[in-house]
Symmetry: C2
Subunit: 595 residues, 2 copies
């Protein structure tokens, strides 16, 4: 069966021993009071909530799904979802990293990220309701007027209201320039918005008193394409000046999608029929504001797959220790039993260690990047802020695409460890695979991420941002270069760094001649860069583990996993480099009609 | 939406132009009358049945699933399934490759294989009912008494009765030695069998008058382990001497599993409560007989994934030509439209071509191996029969594991091409992924296949069988070595052949010292060998396509796909070789309790 224990020790290892989060936060005026003990306490409490309240609802949500009442347009969420959301609000969890000026607790992003991982391990579908709300919070925090902030933020933070992002329409997903929804100004500062949106996660439900939709639409005189899109707040219930709820707004759920997974989350077709909204930010610059939410959501999607990897790994490791089947090829390991536990088989080990290697590097990467978000927001050093912002912008597509690809691979490996039982719903493993699958698609498909990474983030500034990550790699290599015990990690890391520098140059040259070369290289390039990031974090973790690996099995396991990563996963880079060099020619040789 | 047209032209290309099936069959006395025209006719008719009768039921089956009446133990299959099975029987399709002595049509296996691909493209879950029946036919054909054959085979062939294989029990899947079901001899040549079986595909349903279970169980005095297992025929209804149905036997469906996919197939928990059966083959040698069925099933599972790749590829290629979204990076390709069709994007091409490269090589491989089955059964040359049998035995695990891994990758790529719509049930793409997932698990997980391949088939006879495939590779290299246009295909093929010979030697040496080295290498080794097979068939297809590629887009497409395969997929072998050489050490460094 699926099982879950919050990985507190592993999180502490990364936060304190690898990243020194306490010291980093001490350097940020807003967080100078945050101690490692406080971080651990919050994460421990958060873990309890996830394991005890959310995890027991995960299979229920999958089995029951959401149900739309076509007459009232109301959606009923699965049994227990509403009560769990009430407990979530009562526990103050929506407030965790929010601004104290609006009722938040002002804790660092890094703590929020650790909590997010655990929420997603416990219940991805449920966690999307507060997840999107937090995204809406971020967008309004950055681009809302003071009045909008005062009206909405305290309600998000208290857990009374939730948020959504309404972008997609049937004919436009990636290509928002094709968007058709229209917003008519009413002359009183409000707009009437008409159109149809699809794939709206948490678009309608029974968990909160109001749902605040952030909707992209066009003003009547808007230019075509992406430069004519504005962003609007369209609440389910209009909000009176005193903050109480007014009339029902003309935004309703017309249908629910039947999906492969995340059944507990209501994926809605939303109809706007002259719904009243107010604008966020400037006319025709709605995408800027929406991109705040989008970037947050992309990181959030990475956390979803990180969470799924954690629960799937734990479950499959436990099963592999318990399930008796066949004998070890090198002789019985449990001669007193009818067969050996399947964990004795090297190929089962391969499946477990692959999960572990991706999971633990993903966690280190995720917690590190959220520390960059803390620095970017709270440092009083302008250069430090700029560096952190650059690293965050650069690596967001890797968080999104590389972690979600790993998440799908790893949940599938976990399923495979269970054999036939993995395919049976009751055991809980196939749900992780189905849930993980959407993460490679939404908030910009992984192809879109790779184009954003290579085209915009790397080539877009001539490699300036990427060199900042390269500098971290070089610093690590310098720090440990003299230590022969670190050679097995530092050498391949440095080699990959050089290889990527050379490939980046090569692609840049190719791209000058033919822009399709960038499109042809992007997916492999993102994976190469992802391995640079993962080998960097495995090298850092190995450096911490090495001195204690002989005496403490926890560190021995870290070191063994690092070695596995370098020996068995990093070789993918050789394939990727070779593929990438094949260029666009083999991709474009065929006419479209001959496919 | 998912769509399907039987790929007749592609099948003809492989059968006639690449494999010369007509000439091969002419050399087999039993098939000397089979002309290419007859083969094409049968496949065309079969394709019609699949596309018109089975394909429209595929989504219905997924949505409705099977329903067990707990009181009567009867199972209702999805709407239309029963009627489709009647049409299938009326059309004579169950008889296709069966022995005319029992009512079969005696057509070659290669025709059956082509039909199987199309059935699975149209409806994998439905196709499992006749699929398992055909397996039971094969087992009884080989190991049944004349009386058993006369009783059961005509009913299988007429489509009146269906078959199952009952192996798995809750505590034993891979490890059949742990089997507990018991068979008590009654002194009259029958046995009373008691036990519980799980994961029994097609175990109970409403499509046929009788269900004939082939059940593994132990005699009272049987030795422990796999050497004490016997095989029994246990029909749902006992059969009177005149062939009419008698009393209901004590084998009933206790529950249906809720699964990730193949919802239209009833996966049953079967309870045997002193059910009456007759033995197949000799006491305690039941696994021999069951392995006939198992080997057929393993090939059949490969055909399931081949079929899914075909329908998923077709659907995603059509969608990529139609869906308008974004502009080509190298400038608009459909300036008259709101956006370009997504097929202009190199990464969408990568996803389509990857599918195509795996799909078409899988088809060539599958049709070729079924020709080997025809030769093994029907040749009058003993050496030729032995060679074909060796190739069939050697490559069965590659059909099972490599094609099903490709099937999962490719159905996922097809889903990804659809973006968010791919995740929505209505579009039909996510069902292919869920259906494809079981194929990596059942009839021996892909890990089991890799151990069978490396341990038994390759190292087991010191590479004797593998050298027979190597000889085919060498002959091809010799045939085309002098043609500079073939160099780009022949060189990497020959190189991989040498690499594998070297790696086989290396693993053999390692395995002498430590058997776990074989377990550690097996999965990567099977994939390496799979690429040898695929590069062999791509080279053969390229050789046929080359002279006509300039003038005919059909051949141009074959050549372009061959080039894609060699440029972008074959480089995986470099990663695999490096991984494999890392050996078992990195896999076994951790104690089980530290996972």
């Amino acid at each position: 069966m699926a099982q879950y224990t919050p990985p507190l020790r592993d999180m502490q290892f990364v936060l304190h021993e690898v990243l020194g989060a306490g010291a980093v936060l001490k350097g940020l005026p807003a967080h100078a009071e945050i101690t490692p003990e406080l971080i651990d306490q919050v994460i421990e409490e958060g873990g309890k909530f996830c394991a005890e309240v959310l995890f027991p609802l995960n299979q229920v949500g999958d089995r029951e799904g959401c149900v739309l009442d076509k007459a009232t347009h109301e959606v009923k969420t699965p049994t227990g979802f509403k009560e769990a959301f009430r407990k979530f609000a009562e526990g103050g969890w929506p407030a965790l990293s929010c601004d104290p000026a609006y009722g938040g607790q002002g804790l660092p992003h890094v703590v929020q990220t650790a909590f997010q991982e655990m929420m997603n391990s416990a219940n991805q579908a449920w966690s999307m309701y507060p997840g999107l709300t937090h995204g809406a919070y971020q967008a309004l925090m950055r681009h809302g007027t003071e009045e909008q902030k005062r009206t909405y933020l305290p309600k998000f933070i208290s857990g009374e209201w939730t948020g959504t992002m309404c972008l997609t329409e049937p004919h436009c997903g990636t290509d928002l320039g094709l968007l058709r929804s229209r917003a008519e100004p009413q002359g009183d500062g409000t707009y009437r918005i008409t159109g149809g949106k699809i794939f709206i996660s948490s678009g309608e439900h029974d968990m909160a008193a109001n749902i605040v939709h952030l909707v992209l639409a066009r003003l009547p005189d808007a230019p075509a394409g992406t430069k004519g899109i504005s962003l609007f707040i369209v609440p389910k219930f209009l909000v009176n000046p005193d903050g109480s709820l007014g009339a029902r707004n003309a935004i309703t759920c017309g249908a629910l999608e039947h999906k492969m997974g995340i059944h507990g989350n209501a994926t809605c077709q939303m109809n706007l029929d002259g719904a009243i909204g107010t604008m966020v930010g400037e006319p025709n610059k709605g995408l800027n504001a929406m991109f705040v939410m989008m970037n947050g959501a992309r990181l959030g999607v990475g956390m979803q797959s990180l969470g799924l990897m954690a629960v799937a790994y734990q479950s499959s490791a436990a099963y592999a220790r318990e399930r008796l089947q066949m004998r070890s090829l090198s002789g019985p390991k449990a001669p007193d039993k009818a067969a050996d536990p399947i964990i004795v088989h090297p190929d089962v080990r391969r499946m477990l260690l692959t999960q572990r290697a991706y999971l633990e590097a993903s966690r280190a990467f995720a917690l590190w990047i959220s520390l960059q978000a803390d620095i970017a927001h709270y440092s009083d050093d302008e250069d430090e802020r700029a560096d952190a912002e650059d690293l965050l912008a650069l690596l967001t597509p890797i968080v999104k695409a590389f972690i979600t690809d790993a998440g799908f691979e790893c949940t599938n490996l976990a399923l495979q460890v269970f054999g036939g039982h993995g395919y049976i719903a009751e055991w809980g493993m196939e749900q992780f695979v189905r849930d993980a699958r959407i993460n490679q698609i939404y908030e910009g498909t992984n192809t879109v991420q790779s184009l954003d990474f290579l085209g915009r983030k790397v080539l877009g500034d001539g490699g300036k941002k990427f060199k900042k990550f390269g500098a971290l790699v070089e610093a690590l290599a310098e720090e440990h270069g003299a230590n022969p015990a670190m050679k097995e990690f530092i050498d391949p890391l440095a080699e990959l760094g050089e290889k990527l520098a050379e490939l980046s140059m090569w692609i840049g040259m190719q791209g000058f001649k033919n822009a399709d070369e960038v499109g042809a290289a992007a997916t492999d390039y993102l994976r190469l860069a992802g391995h640079l990031v993962y080998s960097y974090f495995w090298a850092r973790m190995a450096a911490v583990a090495l001195p204690k690996a002989d005496t403490d099995p926890f560190y021995k396991a870290k070191l063994a996993t690092a070695r596995f990563y370098f020996a068995r996963l990093l070789p993918e880079t050789e394939m990727l480099a070779k593929r990438l060099k094949a260029g666009s020619k083999v991709l474009l040789a065929l006419e479209a009609e001959n496919f």
